[in-house]
């Protein structure tokens, strides 16, 4: 059976379009083949993600078209104000790119404070229409928005981005509904320059329980010498680099490069999950 055949069989199984006999045969295959069972589960979750994504998209569109609000997570393609968000994203990527380039040349570190500000100043006109809208957003709506946060305070424009970066870096704790922390291209402090350019996925924990987790993608680390060792609160993580079953709170992630000559740390907050089953 080729991959595609197997995929289509699973698809039919999940859609419930197999005949009674086929269904029975598939069920018996499932109980004797854990790898197949895992694949079915993955395919089912992938389908569910696709549906959820479409629904999230509809919600964004409703919000943007009728309630005149933008969110960091909104789809730039949908809604009349998508272009504003798009331009802010472009701006952020430009800065992210700067950090990547900068990391490759540690000697250019002195340029850090000026260059991103210039980039920001050039882009200013594009974000002007936003403040009045953004001000209306209630706290619930402004959860952890790297894209929206720089906008409301026009006077602080030039320094806004570095501040946001710092906030993202240090205190995600106030953002209880956030699960993926975009810690993109933020240099974490240490005795050399390691850069984190991918996401750290944080799963909030139900209050009073240890149901949170932190997942780290080591491919996102650059600088120093590979392979890296990753620690959270001093506990070394091994592939797949997940620190799970933890209560809400602050955790210290430490990355050491090969030879441990280069060490960087980053504080990560696991927030409290809002809706938990009793």
């Amino acid at each position: 059976m080729t991959g595609l055949d197997k995929y289509e069989l699973i698809d039919q199984y999940l859609e419930g379009t197999l005949s009674v006999q086929e269904q029975a045969r598939f069920d018996s295959m499932l109980s004797s083949d854990p790898a197949l069972a895992e694949e079915v589960e993955l395919q089912r979750i992938a389908n569910s993600l696709i549906v959820e994504n479409k629904l999230a998209n509809i919600k964004t569109r409703l919000r943007e078209n009728h309630f005149g609000k933008q969110k960091p997570s909104s789809d730039p393609r949908s809604g009349t104000k998508g272009w504003i968000i798009g331009s802010v994203l472009v701006l952020l990527s430009a800065i992210a790119l700067f950090f990547i380039l900068h990391n490759k040349k540690p000697e250019s570190k002195a340029l850090l404070p000026t260059q991103p500000n210039e980039t920001l100043a050039e882009k200013q006109p594009e974000v002007k229409p936003l403040p009045s809208e953004a001000d209306k957003n209630k706290p619930m709506d402004t959860t952890s928005s790297a894209a929206a946060a720089p906008v409301p305070e026009e006077k602080k424009k030039v320094t806004a981005i570095p501040e946001v970066k710092k906030e993202e870096n240090k205190t995600p704790s106030g953002k209880s509904e956030m699960q993926i922390q975009k810690i993109a291209d933020v240099e974490i402090t240490g005795n050399c320059y390691l850069t984190f350019s991918r996401n750290i996925t944080i799963n909030p924990s139900c209050a009073g329980r240890s149901s949170g987790s932190i997942a780290i993608d080591p491919k996102g680390i650059s600088g120093g010498t590979m392979p890296y060792e990753i620690f959270i609160n001093g506990n070394k993580l091994t592939n797949p680099y997940i620190y799970s079953n933890v209560p809400a709170g602050k955790y210290l992630m430490t990355v050491k490069d090969a030879g441990r000559s280069c060490t960087d740390s980053l504080e990560i907050s696991v927030p409290v999950k809002k809706f938990c089953k009793e």
Partner: protein, 200 residues
């Protein structure tokens, strides 16, 4: 007579909305729902000392629950859309208020469709989910997600997918769909926290 015509009209309107959802005319559906139903939700929330922002949130969540019911075929013909969204909103708002005030004495006895009650909160799209999904689409690519939405959400045939996305033939579309799905599955596999959140 007049009343009968009125109720016939409602049924026709409802059928038109359901059809529009299936055809992906979301903007049309959303404006209709916003125009016809949102004022009632706003009224409900404000009358119970809620804010306009809360009304907006509740309405958005209720519309998503409605969409989800339609997509999964759980939205029965005998439901009327207006009543369904109003009932779901009422229920969501009472859950929200109970959470907020941490007391149980604020209880709406509503005419909510039975099946909508149980896992209502699992039917909404939380902000955490939105953030995760946004990120995921970023990794997967827009075109892949568009293709997968056609096949999984709208359950279009490969022939229809070809027409919508300009693939050369059905085999090309099928292969592309397979590859996109495999990539998404790989992302899920590599990220166990996704499994926990989207398992239900």
């Amino acid at each position: 007579m007049g009343q009968e015509r009125e109720s016939n009209k409602v049924i026709q309107d409802d059928a038109a909305i359901i059809l529009s959802i299936k055809e992906g005319k979301d903007d049309h559906v959303l404006s209709t729902l916003y125009k016809n139903i949102y004022p009632k939700i706003k009224n409900l929330v404000l009358k119970n000392s809620g804010t306009v922002e809360e009304a907006e949130d509740i309405f958005q969540d209720a519309v998503i629950v409605f969409y989800r019911y339609v997509q999964t075929g759980r939205f029965k013909e005998e439901y009327d859309i207006d009543g369904f969204i109003y009932g779901v909103s009422k229920n969501l708002f009472s859950k929200y208020i109970n959470k907020k005030r941490r007391r149980e004495d604020f209880d709406f006895a509503g005419n909510i469709p039975e099946s909508a009650e149980g896992d209502l909160l699992e039917n909404i799209i939380t902000k955490e989910k939105e953030n995760i999904l946004h990120n995921l689409v970023g990794q997967l690519g827009d075109r892949c997600m568009e293709l997968l939405t056609h096949t999984v959400f709208y359950k279009l045939s490969m022939k229809e997918v070809c027409e919508k996305m300009g693939f050369a033939n059905e085999n090309v579309a099928k292969t592309a769909n397979y590859k996109c799905k495999q990539r998404l599955m790989k992302m899920v596999k590599d990220n166990p926290s996704l499994i926990e959140i989207f398992r239900n």
